[in-house]
């Protein structure tokens, strides 16, 4: 706990809660407005009485004035499963701090918020495939499980978002909020997995965690570059021209990536590991409408 995140930080997050863009219907009472009328104290609407309705919800005052049997409906607040799809491929091991650490801290903070919001929180680490997951559950006991699972993450393997999403969809039947945390630095095609996630109706939030060296490397000289996931290597003498070309090419990649996510109405947040996590949560995610 102390290694991954400190309690003061979590306390400062206490007044935040997840915002679901779609009305997700959960199984338990929670903090999210359900598309179904429910039993909360917040009035929603009237409807005509149909046999079988609970007579306790008939508005007798209206019947006295209009002689119509109208049933009062209330907003149903249900919980929403919040799925954290966390990239644990080898590329997440890089960075200062490592992207995996930053991503874990982020997932832990957001999970904490969700649990406080009476949501169920599940953790689905993935690399080439979906790894051992923490099924979504309520309560702070789940936070402990969540924390243990995050603490035990050892980033390795290649990223295969397609197969991982396939595994995820097969393991979870209930739609919810999918927080997809990854560096999204892969040559794989992201369109299909995104399409499948979107097709199910999940509320998807994508957070790209990058190292500053991913964005704008400053290394110069002859460097043997090794892909941490595929172990491919190439020798390149890096000079100012090469760095400039890299930055341009990386910016193009980011633009393409953002276009992909926007195409599926998935908000994409990009954060560098040297960016303060609290600031990212309080400012960027709130400004992006993910938290309030």
């Amino acid at each position: 706990m102390q290694q991954l995140i400190d309690e003061d930080f979590l306390r400062r997050l206490a007044n935040l809660r997840f915002m679901s863009r779609h009305r997700q219907g959960g199984r338990f009472t929670g903090g999210h407005v359900s598309p179904r009328a429910g039993m909360s104290i917040e009035f929603a609407d009237y409807r005509d009485y149909v046999p079988g309705d609970d007579l306790r919800y008939v508005d007798w005052n209206i019947y006295g004035r209009l002689e119509r049997l109208l049933i009062k409906t209330f907003v149903q607040e249900l919980d929403v499963p919040v799925y954290f799809l966390l990239d644990t491929s080898a590329s997440m091991r890089l960075g200062r701090p490592p992207k995996a650490v930053y991503a874990s801290q982020l997932a832990l903070a957001l999970g904490y918020l969700a649990l406080r919001n009476l949501d169920r929180v599940g953790l689905f680490p993935f690399a080439e495939r979906l790894a051992e997951s923490v099924p979504p559950r309520h309560g702070m006991a789940q936070f402990s499980r969540f924390l243990r699972a995050l603490s035990g993450i050892d980033p390795h393997g290649q990223t295969s978002l397609g197969r991982s999403v396939e595994d995820f969809l097969s393991q979870t039947r209930e739609t919810g909020i999918v927080v997809l945390i990854s560096d999204f630095l892969t040559s794989d095609d992201l369109r299909e997995p995104l399409a499948r996630l979107s097709y199910r109706g999940d509320d998807i939030v994508a957070i790209q965690v990058l190292d500053r060296n991913d964005i704008a490397p400053t290394l110069t000289g002859p460097i043997q570059f090794r892909d941490v996931e595929t172990d491919q290597q190439t020798l390149l003498s890096v000079g100012p021209g090469t760095l400039e070309a890299y930055r341009k090419r990386f910016a193009d990649y980011e633009t393409t990536l953002r276009r992909e996510f926007e195409g599926h109405r998935v908000p994409l947040f990009v954060v560098a590991t040297d960016h303060p996590l609290e600031k990212f949560i309080h400012e960027d995610l709130r400004a992006g409408g993910i938290l309030r």
Binding site: L185, I223, R226, V238, R249
Partner: protein, 595 residues
């Protein structure tokens, strides 16, 4: 290129250590990335190919290897041998003797041709250090170690050959010693018209022998042993390749003799020319040759005449007798003894004088008495005596011959009847000749026998004097003044006094002619000639042209100059090391920024 210490090259093996470290460093420079696909695209892009190529050649490693190689090369002491025409140091010895002023067929002198040749040599030796020596009996350095060819050319063009003869091999050594010695020069070129038979060190001889020479190669004058004038001896040489009709003229101060002659090419002819009446001391021989070398067409000789008579005269003068004495030998009248001869003319003496005596119509108390009675008649020889050599007594007639009494033993030489006309007192230590008659009372002064008689007399009293031979010296040879007594002044051939220092003990005549050396008592004549060896021969010309044909062209020679390169290589290594240092520092700082 060669190396002074090639054993250093195995040190190049240490380059393997540098390469090993480079490989280790290369491993350290491996970088794990998540964006490999981006780097791969960059690698495949055209703009990155050069970067990739450079990555194979790490500048640091290259600089380190270059530094190492430079250090090893510096230790190996590389020597660069550059080959280019010419020589690093060149000494040009130009013959400046009199013969070099011989005019060639092209209108220039041999010396001018040699100067042109020097210009050609200078053009082939652009980077040489040039020294020029003018070589003759007195060699002198004209230019010493000059790198500016224009200076050499200008200085040489302003010079001219002198009248001196060729120097000896030792003079060549001393001439070169003035410019550092022969060993200081990579090549020595000798431009001359006289190929030397031997040389003291290796040198390249080029000859300039155009122009044919006719000249007087020998000229001398000597007194005839009998005192009758002098004889001149001259040798004419036809050094041309054509027959020559020549006229040899020899003159003393009062007369001249001309000889017409004809010489074949290469022929030498000797001539003896008598000057029976010559009493001069200056002689000049000349030939009318119109050749290319006029310096040997005139020769000078001077003769210090040995016949000189100190005469003490007592009594009356008699110009006949004086003239006869003067004709026999240069006489100098003195007033007191010692004298070579005491002439007593028409005088009465108290005693007989010491030394040789000629008594003419004179008496000596108690020894020779002349009576008043006279007689006349033709003279006849009484005795056979050397004093009468060449005399015809019958040509002599005495008009008034006085009778004479002589109290000493005597020998009558000539007489008229029984009365002596000429007698000699018998004294083994001296000559005492008596002529009792007054000369004007005889026909003796007007006969040819009179000067002969007087000459015989003079020859008799100075029999031990050797015949003098002419003397002359060569242009450039030292003439000692100290041995000539107190020197007042020296006059040149033009009659002008030479500038001499008071303590000067010798001088070097610089041109041919006759010099006058005035000492306290007399004037000596010094004849100075151009060295007869300067007269070129036709055979020598052929030999010289053959020798020149065997010489390789100078321009084909390449000179090798070895330069020590290790300071340059070491400097380059230091620069490379500094470059490697600063590049390494920059790389470190960039890496620090990257972290």
């Amino acid at each position: 290129m060669s190396f002074g210490f090639p054993a250093a090259f195995p040190l190049l093996a240490t380059a393997l250590i540098v390469i090993l470290f480079a490989l280790l460093r290369s491993r350290q420079r491996r970088r794990d990335v998540a964006t490999f696909f981006v780097w791969r695209e960059l690698r495949d892009s055209v703009s990155a190919r050069s970067q990739r190529l450079r990555s194979l050649l790490d500048p640091l490693v290259l600089l380190q290897l270059a530094t190492l190689i430079a250090a090893v090369f510096a230790i190996a002491q590389p020597l660069w041998t550059s080959k280019h025409p010419g020589f690093a140091s060149l000494a040009i010895v130009v013959d400046a003797s009199a013969s070099m002023s011989t005019r060639t067929d092209s209108g220039i002198t041999r010396y001018e041709a040699a100067v042109r040749r020097v210009d050609e040599i200078l053009a082939t030796c652009p980077s040489s250090s040039i020294s020029v020596i003018l070589f003759s009996k007195n060699p002198r350095a004209l230019v010493a170690g000059e790198a500016d060819r224009s200076v050499v050319s200008r200085t040489l063009a302003a010079s001219a050959p002198g009248w001196e003869g060729d120097g000896e091999p030792a003079d060549l050594v001393s001439g070169l010693a003035a410019v550092g010695g022969a060993s200081a020069y990579e090549q020595i070129i000798f431009l001359t018209d006289h190929a030397p038979a031997t040389v003291p060190f290796p040198l390249r001889v080029e000859t300039f022998f155009e122009g044919r020479d006719i000249g007087i190669t020998v000229f001398s004058v000597r007194e005839n042993p009998d005192g009758a004038g002098v004889s001149a001896f001259a040798v004419l040489t036809n050094g041309s390749d054509e027959s020559q009709s020549l006229r040899l003229e020899i003159a003393d101060e009062t007369s001249r003799t001309t000889i017409e002659t004809f010489l074949e090419p290469g022929e030498e002819a000797a001539y003896v020319v008598p000057f029976p009446t010559s009493r001069g001391s200056r002689f000049v021989a000349s030939v009318n040759a119109e050749d290319a070398s006029p310096y040997d067409n005139v020769r000078y000789a001077s003769l210090q005449r040995s016949i000189g008579l100190q005469v003490r005269w007592i009594g009356k003068n008699n110009r006949y007798l004086m003239a006869a004495l003067d004709a026999a030998a240069p006489i100098r009248l003195v007033n007191a003894l010692p004298a070579d001869l005491t002439v007593v003319y028409d005088a009465d003496l108290a005693a007989l004088p010491d030394g040789n005596v000629l008594l003419v119509h004179s008496t000596v108390r108690d020894v020779i008495t002349i009576g008043d009675r006279t007689m006349a008649g033709v003279v006849a020889a009484v005795a056979d005596d050397p004093l009468l050599s060449g005399i015809h007594p019958s040509d002599i007639y005495a008009e008034r011959l006085p009778l004479v009494d002589v109290l000493l033993p005597f020998l009558s030489l000539l007489s008229v009847g029984e009365n002596p006309f000429a007698l000699r007192i018998l004294d083994p230590n001296r000559l005492i000749m008596v002529l009792p008659s007054d000369l004007v009372a005889t026909n003796l002064p007007i006969t040819v026998d009179f000067p002969i008689l007087v000459r015989n007399l003079v020859a008799h009293i100075m029999p031990a004097q050797p015949a003098a031979a002419s003397q002359w010296t060569l242009v450039g040879s030292p003439v000692l003044l100290a041995s000539r007594g107190h020197s007042v002044e020296v006059l040149g051939p033009d009659g002008r006094a030479l500038a001499l220092l008071p303590e000067q003990r010798a001088f070097f005549p610089d041109r041919p002619g006759q010099y006058s050396i005035r000492t306290g008592g007399e004037t000596q004549v010094l004849s100075v000639n151009v060295d007869p060896d300067e007269t070129s021969s036709f055979a020598a010309a052929e030999l010289a042209s053959t020798a020149d044909a065997l010489l390789p062209p100078l321009s084909s020679q390449l000179r090798g100059t070895q330069s020590r390169l290790w300071p340059i290589v070491a400097g380059a290594g230091l620069v490379l090391l500094l470059a490697e240092f600063f590049l390494h520092r920059r790389t470190l700082s960039e890496r620090a920024r990257a972290r």
